[in-house]
Structure formats: structure tokens, C-alpha cells
Amino acid sequence: MIDPAQDLDQTCDVLIEGGAVRELGTSIEAGDAEVIDAKGLVVCPGLVDMHVHLREPGREDEETIESGARAAIHGGFTSVAAMPNTEPTIEGEEGVKFVLGKAAEAGLARVFPVAAISKRQKGETLSEIGSAIRAGAVGISDDGYPVAQSGLMRRALEYVKMFDRPVMAHCEDTGLSAGGVMNEGRTSTVLGLRGIPGASEDVEVIRDIILTRLTGSRLHVCHVSTAASLGFIEQAKTSGLNVTCEVTPHHLTLDDEAVATFDTNTKMKPPLRRKHDVSALRKGIETGVVDAIASDHAPHSPEEKDQEFDLAPFGIIGLETTVGIVMTRLYHEGAVTLSNLIRLLSTNPARILGLPLGSLKPGSPADVTLLDPDSEWEVDPRDFVSKSRNTPFSGWSVKGKAITVIVEGRVLMRDGELKTPGVRP
């Protein structure tokens, strides 16, 4: 069992009772309790993906809260934080309650709503942030759209201080990124595709750090993709600011040369960057500057992705590939220990979002993921339970898989089999 929150890495029994962890210890006697043999597996606190798009309401053809929560379980995640860029936008009490209601109905992974910063994410005036947080929102974000006006971003950072929740910032200066469809550099030059310079991210990361210093608030930088942005975040942390950040599996494993075939499954925001950016992000994983790995799971329909690169929407899915990709490319390549990987996938995201999860301390909710670090499998989108298939990792051979997933004591996946498989599209 590995639980970074308790600094535990040992072989032991975990007793779950009434939806909570009751006891940790060797040779626990529990009468006629159901026994899950985890020999050869890693038992860890349930994984938390702090950045997903579940498309409901509005694009239920691409994903629903239920299908997304099922994909989460299938990928080893017991909790996800759902971004508010739906149609309509998730904001205020009503929006948050809608998501929580759908998630409760599904009874799969926990779904924590992130509410919009601005009304309808238009970047003009604040949405009802307080009501949203009181109703259960774990953070606020206009993800998908940057908050262009510095004044509004300042107000958001200030206002949210009374609730102790993070502003989750999608950092992009659209004056620099407008019209761009991939990273600006040699590959965009050769392909004739309009570029998105890394500077478009860096400029806004630095702005938001400065505003965090001004307001004394909490900033979480979403999907960091450049070496420079990560450098600014490192400086901010060193100077004592409350700044955290996440990185996606694709930005840790792919660079912009992957776009050379015009494959629309390599099109996302922020775009795949340069090799040196990938190295810097991996280094950030090793040094601990990166707090969390989040998938930025962004489902899109096949017909929307199957068109000209310029016209295809940004985004790829990741809930069902994250564990395989990061275990293969980070853990098995020696860039990170299992304990630190679990910190990035569970302990830290739970802490940033203020959730009482991410640990198996006795008394904690019994959200548990069992990983088989040595299970080898091939990514085949047809095996996904997500409603969408848009992944650049199709055909990858990976090593490491979530085998059994428990949410609040309920075994939702056992030995790789979902208890409620749902209707596969």
C-alpha cells in the first residue's frame, strides 16, 4: 500500500467498513467480510483527475456525466473535477446542483463541479461564485477561455479568497494565439499551419502570478505546456505565493512534431510544444514543481475530428489512458517513483481542491484504486467506455493499469471488469 499523505509505503491490510477506511494493519481479522487479494498490486488512495470536460449539458452525444464518470472508473479515477464550459455554462447554485445530481444518479466516480468565473464565461462580469461554492463547487475557472481582462481576473482572485478555493486558470493571451492551431515553430512553419507561440501562455501565466501576489489569493495554473511557464511557476512558489499547477499526460509525452501528419487527434489547447518543453515538464515532475497530472479529458465527436486540421475542434480524451501512459513513460522510465506518481494523481489534486480524499488514513472515505504496475496492454479506443474516441495514443503499448476501483466502499471495477458496464456506444 502506498499513501503519500501518511508517508506510507508498505505491505498491509486495509479494512473498509461503512464506506470508510476503518483500519490499516497486518493480518486484520474481519470475519466474513469480502476479501480483495491485492498481492502484486499497488493499493493507493483513489486517483483524482482535477481537469475533465464531461460535455453535459449540451453535448451529450460526446459525453455525459454518467459516461464520463464511468470512463473515470475504467481508467482508475475515483474522482474528477468537471470544467464548466458546457452549454449552458455551469455556474451558480443551479449549475452546480445539476452536475452533482447527475453524478449521484450515476453512482460511479465522484464528480466535483468547477464553476465559471464569469457569467457564461464571457469574461465580462463575475458569475455567482459564492452560491456555486456553497452548493459544492471545488474551484472556479473559465477553462476553455482565458480571462482576458486583468481587472476581472484580479476581482476573481480577490473574491474567491473568502471561500478558500483556487482559481483554476486557463492561461492564454488570445492576442498572441488568435487563429493558431498548433505550436508555433519549425513544424508549423513547414506545414503552413498558423502557430500558437509558447509566449501566449507565458504572458498570461506571469500576469496571473503577479495578480496572485497583489491579491494574496490561490492560483492553480491549468495544463502548463511550456518550459518558461513552469519556470515562472517555480519562482512564484519559491517566493512563497500560493500557486499550484497541473500538467497533462500528452504534454509530458508528445511534442509538436506529432502534428506533422495533420492528425486532428494531435490538436488541443494548449498545443503540443517543443522537445525542450517536454523535457522541462518531465523535469518538473521529478523536482516536484508540478503538483498534479490531469488529463484535460476533452471528448469530441468523430465527425468533428474527421475533417481539415484547421476546422477540427481542440482537445483529446484522457481518462482511460492517463494511468497507462504516465506509468509507462514516467514510472517505468525512472522519472518518478510510484509514491510520487500517486502524489501527483491523488494526494495533491485532492489537497488543491480541498477534498477530504487522497488518503487512506483511518476514517477517510474508502476511495481506493488498485494498480497493476506491470500489466501490459495496448491502447485501443474501441475498448473505451467514454462516448468519444479522440486520442493520439491509439495503438500505444503501455505498461500499468488500474485493476480494481472502490468508491466510498463500493467496488465499481474489479479485476478490470466494470460492475456497471453501461451501454457501449
Partner: protein, 329 residues
Amino acid sequence: MKFTRKDLLGLEEMSREEIESILDTADSFVEISERPIKKVPVLRGLTVVNLFFEPSTRTRISFELAEKRLSADTVNIAASSSSAVKGETLKDTAKNIEAMSIDMLVVRHRCPGAARYLAGVLDCPVLNAGDGAHEHPTQALLDLFTVRKRRGGIDGLNVAIVGDILHSRVARSNIWGFQKMGAEVALCGPPTLMPQEIESTGVRVHYYVEDVIPWADVIMLLRIQNERLEESYFPTIREYSELFGLDSEKMKKAKPDVTIMHPGPLNRGVEITPEVADGPYSVILQQVKYGLAVRMAALYLLSGGQLESEAADQERKVDRSGTGSRSNL
């Protein structure tokens, strides 16, 4: 060598030998357009569709005439008359056209990669007639062909491409083409119109046109579009013209045998003055003329035709054995 590609999408992926095989084939097609009866039965019975999602005069007419002179049946589809305006996807449009048993598709599209995308979707050969700022292979091939005709060869020449490199598919295809054929390429234009890391393709970059004029054996001017002003790539047309426009004054520093090219359409008085465009160094109309022969060659090779020399070899074999089909070139 035998030309084995299914599609003609760009020069980046082509070898010098493949490029030469097209130019060599084009050599034998030039003469057809000089005949009183400008038609050979090379593509008789084949249907070629020209699918143009962007306005084009020169390239579309050139392809159409090339097809007609090879006796193909041709259909022209302009974006405004296609179902694209009704919301049909590019893939569906192309699949529907292919379902009518066409033999080749020529496509012009504003999105980079569109021709390659169609090549992956369709069984028939696809010719890229320009995809966004990506490639315009037949334009570069006709430029190479024109230079080879004019200068006797391309190896060792200094080629300067001047203008809006950032948005130019002609520049990209020529960067690959001229370098593969042994020329040295320099680019010149304002830094705002110079794509990031373009040096990594092997070219040199200059910001002063005066620096490349005395060096160049070939100067290719690119069209400056008015809409670039709206995005502040440069302040005014007047200033652009002053800094980069090729006029008689700047031409004084040029080599005595310099060759001036322009892919058209010309902005007279902007990137090139009329005296230079119509002067003795200009091969602008030859480019258009040879474009026809080069496109005939490309269509012929993609239809499964072979180089003349190989065809002749085969004819001899056919004559001996009395079997097989004769080359109809």
C-alpha cells in the same frame, strides 16, 4: 526511374529523382501546346475533377487546359457552387465525387493538409493545387522547369524569394524544390512575414532586399495581399514597396543575367514595377506557359504513365513480343 506515387501532395516528401522525372516528362509535353491541333489522346476516357475551394484563375485554367489537351474529360467545381455551402464536409463532397467513377482529383483548399487528408480518404490520385500556406507543388515544379529551361540547369544557382513568406505555399514548395535540385535559397521580407525557424529548412534569411539582389541568379517576387495590412504585418503598401518592391533602381545592382520570376497574380507597382515585370529578365509569362506542360506531365505520371525513355523501352519490348499495351504518348 518510374514514378510510383499515388498522389502529388508536396515537394517536401519528394526526391530529386522524382522531381526530375516530372520535369523530364514535361519537356516532351511543351511541344504539344505549340501544335495547331493541341491535343493528344494520353488521358482519353479518363475523368479529372478540379475541385477548387478557393478562387483561382491561372492554376485552374492551367489544369483544365492540361487535362483537355491530354483528352481527359474534365469537370470544374468551384466552392461557391459546391455543397460546401450547404454544410457538407470535405470528405463527403470528395467521396460523392469519387462515387461517380472519377480517375483523378485536383484540389485547391484554404486549409493546410486538405489535399493530404483527401488522399487518405480517396482511392483515386489526388493532385494538390494549393493547400493553405502548406504547399503548391505544381507551381514549384513549373518554376523549376522554367529556370532549367532558361538557365540550362538548377545546380549551383542562387535563388532569392522575396515577399510574404509566412503565408506563401509557393515559397514553401520552392524552398524544398530548389534546394533538392542543388540551388541555394535565400528568403527576404519583413521579419513579420518570415515564419519562425524557417532557417531550419536550410535557407538563409535576409531583411534587406539590397543584400540578396547582387547575389541572386534568380529573384522570385511573391504577391503582397492587402489583407495583411489589417493584421499589421507592415504599416503601408507604400512602405512595403519602398523597402521590398523590385524596381529599375534596385535592379541596377542585380547580376547582368538575372532571372526575374513571379507566380502571379502581379501587383504592379507594389512588389514589382511594370518595367521589371515586362523587362528582358522577366520569365513571368514563360512560367505560365510551362505550367501547362508541367501539369500535363504530373497528370500523365499520376495516371500511371511512364517516362518517355521507359515508354520507348517498353514499346520495343511490345514490338518484339506483340503483347501488352502500347504507350500512347
